[in-house]
Symmetry: C2
Subunit: 255 residues, 2 copies
DNA sequence: ACAACTCACTTCATTAGATGAAAGATAATC
DNA sequence: GATTATCTTTCATCTAATGAAGTGAGTTGT
């Protein structure tokens, strides 16, 4: 039997290998064998065997007795990007959006209670520290709110609950009531507009992306460095942003 | 025993799960269970159990009985990018390079006999179809030659052997002798300069990136659409490109 | 300089658990 | 409505994943 008593079929050793992989994903420094063993609570021999497989596939690389992710994961990302209808269709639309507004366009895909950056087209002026592909951010901050605003009630409340305790870049914590008002406004007006919530240096406008059935898929945003990107400038870009988000929302069978 | 008779330790079920994953990575369309089974030559029940694990981790998503990669792989890519010293250090250098030259900067990392795109900073004018992160290209074409030119003799010959039969975007096949001359020139002058080899619409200059010990890590390139990017324009960018590649080559302990 | 650690990696006997045959369920095709 | 093709679950068998124990290398402390 390979079931975990809960009906969901599984394979223990595969599960364990991915525990190791995710430990490496989370870490911001190469990890030694013992570190990995402690994190995933497995016998060194077991971890080592998993690592051997991962290494042979380029998913993990070893460097004098420490382990970290390898370029193999970039290949996987590529495999995703070229197959993902949303990302594919987004690219030309976003290039146009950036060409017209001069701002950076970003497409965040919703993944449970996070959003993950899948496509970015840089504008001018460029941000000093650009967010790399795959970055994940919460749904209660910045353009994430454009997603949240269009979620079913119960999920909205779940997001609001998660925001508890988050401190914005300004130093202020999130206020649940204030957040609810924000969401109301966003739902009414059809776009979010935030400045320096997660990063003081960034101002952004966001518009929800759905499938034709209306299910929320993610958010399209335009952003720029806050010193050079006034609210007025963002406001001006909103119609073009909404047009782009709408175009993107109409075109894919499902997902 | 879990060894594959060759000394290399392994875990069969993990190996199989990654066979499934790589089948999905290669495919340019979602795959059904039977398709996967045929490709990896495994029992449907086995494939299904692996898929269940992958799905729960967001690595794979199912959509009415077909499977494809999920956003989870983007998270992994992010995990790589934020840890990879080379990519990290490259970002600001490349932003500057693009700011000065106006061309798109790309960093390809060498991975056995391929190069994988790990960082890109888009220039102006932008290419219509931008290459996504994780794209892999051969070492005998375009800026890949800047890598090959600095490889040990035997590896160079291996690359040349692989080029056999490749037809360039122009319609002409690669000529081994011509390629050798190219490599000589690149080694002497310190940069590659190619137009429309892989894609007729792209012209690019490339300079090798090494670690301080001199081992080849990859190639830094500037590129633009060939109609708007004359050889002279590329030539003008070469000194700046070399400066950037050199700066990038000096700074990381090992790898 | 030697002892006492910590950590990386290997070997191998035990038995947990991955496997695949078979059957049931579901959907597509004629 | 029967037939075929594919998806999914169940379960007995026996492979192969596991972890205890051991080796060896490297580091720290006295």
């Amino acid at each position: 039997m390979a079931d975990e008593s809960s009906g969901q079929p599984t394979v223990r050793s595969v599960e364990r290998a991915f525990d190791v992989l995710e430990a490496l994903e989370r870490s911001d420094a190469p990890l030694r064998l013992v570190d990995l063993c402690r994190q995933v609570d497995l016998h060194p021999a077991t971890v080592l065997r998993s690592l051997a497989v991962l290494q042979r596939r380029g998913i993990v690389v070893a460097e004098n007795q420490t382990y970290r992710l390898g370029v193999g994961v970039l290949r996987l990302a590529h495999g995703f990007l070229v197959n993902d209808q949303l990302s594919q269709q987004a690219r030309p639309i976003m290039q146009r959006l950036t060409a017209v507004t001069g701002l950076t366009s970003s497409l965040y895909v919703r993944s449970s209670f996070e959003r993950v950056l899948s496509v970015r087209v840089d504008g001018n002026p460029q941000l000093h520290y650009q967010v790399p592909i795959g970055s994940w951010l919460p749904l209660y901050i910045g353009s994430g709110k454009a997603i949240t605003a269009h979620l079913p009630e119960d999920e909205q409340e779940a997001v609001i609950a998660m925001s508890e305790g988050y401190v914005m870049a300004s130093g202020k914590p999130i206020d649940a009531e204030h957040l609810r008002q924000d969401l109301d406004r966003i739902r009414k007006e059809g776009y979010s507009l935030t400045t320096g919530e997660r990063n003081v240096a960034v101002a952004a406008a966001g518009a929800v992306v759905t499938n034709p059935a209306g299910d929320v898929l993610g958010v399209l945003s335009v952003s720029g460095p806050s010193e050079h990107t006034s609210d007025e400038r963002l406001q001006q870009s909103v119609p073009e942003l909404q047009r782009a988000a709408h175009a993107l929302s109409g075109r894919h069978p499902y997902s």
